[in-house]
Symmetry: C2
Subunit: 413 residues, 2 copies
């Protein structure tokens, strides 16, 4: 099955909005063993839409178009679809009913509906939209199924999962079982990941292994296919184990679990509380930890001690020590970790001090020099890193590395 995606809208083609719909659709199709052969984007221009439908329908068996189904005059996808397929626009009763349902739920006049939205090409079939007024639909034309979905991601995603994917998969008449697994890695370069995955003994025909950089992490995705679920699970279990053997402790989570969610789960399970003292990361680590719902049960406080006087006053770092070895040093990182742990009264104290740049570097301590320290009942350890890149990159890597310290400590690695 050859499938195309078509994103419609001035905001997409002008580049001011990054289109996330097309990648979302591609990822979902991939999970069903399908690939997007063509992706195209055009503006809110009737002729451009017609041209795109013409070209894509010659190449593909299905087109999934998003955008341009709203109630304003800019929304001309449906007019273009009618012209392209040579059909008249008629009022569809189920679309009128859909709009009426939403109108009756309206509170405070936020939802704008328009009879115009129920005008769909003849013989189009409405797709259920549980979360909005837009009337998505599909129609068959010249051996190609054309799906039209709204551009609002939440509406598009629900309709894709509920209606579009089942329709496409049922047409494939396939009995294949497809399953995917994901492993998330931190601290290994892409080149190394590539090499180690290639070593994987005879990756089988019904096993696809790919990896995707999601800075500062890398995601490894395994997709297995076969005739029986148990057999596919076996293949995947084996492959997951092989990936684990190769990357071991660098795998911080599976599936969609983020680094901060993985750390949060460990803190909860191990019944540990944490407080953070940050200098160059400027609150980034605290923000990551508190992103997780329920973090108030294990995250007590963060101190963004940017100035020396804050390090001294808030964390009890000795002024003489800072004078002696500098605020960016092994010793001050340790003192910060111990200081935040004791003043906050937590099980764990995590600290980061470094030079994110662009200024502040020296020959001995260039921009990118970062010290991370962790204090616990077991004692305090610190280590220096030298990260390359600009201010943002140094801060992101420092925050991720500090989170990884927490994870490794909680796992006693």
């Amino acid at each position: 099955v050859k499938i195309a995606t078509l994103s419609i809208g001035k905001e997409v083609v002008s580049g001011e909005i990054i289109d996330t719909n097309a990648p979302f659709i591609a990822r979902r199709l991939f999970d069903f063993g399908l690939a997007v052969s063509w992706h195209a984007a055009v503006g809110d221009d009737e002729n451009a839409i017609i041209d795109a439908l013409k070209l894509l329908s010659m190449e593909c068996d299905a087109i999934i178009a998003t955008g341009g189904l709203g109630s304003t005059v800019d929304d001309i996808t449906t007019r273009a679809a009618a012209h392209f397929t040579g059909r008249r626009l008629i009022l569809h009763q189920d679309a009128i009913d859909h709009l009426a349902t939403f109108r009756s739920q309206e509170r405070g006049g936020f939802i704008e509906t328009n009879e115009r939205q129920a005008l769909l090409p003849a013989k189009a079939e409405l797709l259920n939209n549980p979360s909005g007024t837009a009337c998505g639909y599909f129609l068959n034309h010249n051996n190609c199924i054309l799906f039209f979905l709204p551009g609002v991601p939440a509406e598009m995603e629900a309709m894709l999962d509920q209606s579009v994917l089942p329709a496409i998969v049922s047409r494939m008449h396939s009995r294949k079982v497809l399953k995917t697994r994901m492993l998330n890695i931190f601290g290994v370069s892409e080149v190394q990941i590539d090499q180690r995955l290639k070593e994987l003994s005879s990756p089988e025909d019904h096993l696809d292994i790919s990896f995707y950089p999601m800075f500062p992490y890398v995601r490894v995705k395994l997709r297995g296919e076969g005739l029986h679920a148990a057999e596919v699970d076996d293949v995947l279990d084996r492959a997951v184990q092989q990936v684990h053997e190769r990357f071991q402790q660098c795998i911080f989570s599976e599936g969609e679990t983020s680094m901060q969610q993985a750390v949060a789960a460990l803190l909860q399970v191990k019944n540990q509380t944490v407080a953070v003292a940050e200098s160059c990361t400027g609150g980034g680590i605290a923000a990551m930890l508190t992103e997780v719902p329920g973090s108030s049960s294990w995250f007590m406080e963060g101190a963004v001690t940017y100035s020396n006087s804050a390090k001294i006053g808030r964390l009890g770092v000795s002024a003489a020590l800072i004078e002696d070895v500098g605020a960016v040093s092994h010793e001050v990182a340790e003192a910060m970790a111990e200081g935040i742990r004791s003043t906050a009264g937590t099980d764990l104290g995590l600290a980061v001090t470094g030079i994110a740049g662009p200024d502040g570097g020296s020959a001995l301590k260039p921009v990118g020099t970062v010290y991370i320290a962790l204090s616990s009942a077991r004692g305090t350890t610190a280590r220096s890193y030298l990260f390359s890149g600009n201010r943002e990159r140094v801060r992101t890597l420092s925050s991720a590395m500090a989170m990884d310290w927490l994870r490794r400590h909680l796992l006693s690695l």
Copy 2:
């Protein structure tokens, strides 16, 4: 001139990577008064690339393709380009020279080059790539110029600006002057922005006004064109003034200046220092402020006082007050702002306390209830907000609103 962009690569079409090259090219073209008529993406598949070049070259006068120019066997863009144009691949001396230059600069074996990269279609002209080994080039075929650029954003962007845009603009034989201005707005809904911009008295033919949501901000973009720079500046000055009249204090910056950069510049000019006490935003405001290089001269410290004991111990908030009115309250927000200002010894103390959700809400104080307070020599003020949406949205809006408080205070608004 009709222009197409073509993104080539498995990682683009599989949806695992969000393609930022095509939007970047579209934005740059827009600044020269040009629009992308078609955007397409295909995988690392020779036939798919050839099909795409065929279809796009029928529709457009120029194609800007990115990706697939690397040194590995997956990189087959050039082979596809040669097949499509019916040319042989030959070793280009200037490409060999380019690779040699990079190889001589190599340190530590990081740069992988390959003679293969110097094999380009006959009569292709090399484009200078100042930042990498990839050999980008262009060639003419059937009245269409085909540009091939590497997919690495830094390399692509430099080559686009230095070589591709000048080549396209020079072919337009246009004497038109094009200029753009941008205004960044916070605190006005998109619907209101749309309405107020539409009111703008007779937007002239040579003036284009558009706006783009960049949550939690909205960017208004004005593009003027004419024969003389002074005349275009006049039109734009007038339009910018009209936009200012309509949105006044909600415009926080012009051009590419972010909210945090605008606030940073004001703190510097007004010679004011700031410290931040955060509860629900969890360090997000401190992280925004310290994103700006040089922030250590005006940002003294941040306290992420998540627990009540941290609010009491770090900021001197009275335990009885928290008991009385709750940690999420007008009074506690004020006490936090005053506490961080006096303990940090700064000119300004900014505080946020609220319920980001998903748990913790009540009938009186539902999820999304947020109090912001600012303390200065002039006194302390606090206000409550009710933001809708999930945890992430509430935190983002709270942080942006707190930053906007700083901005308005520094401007005495």
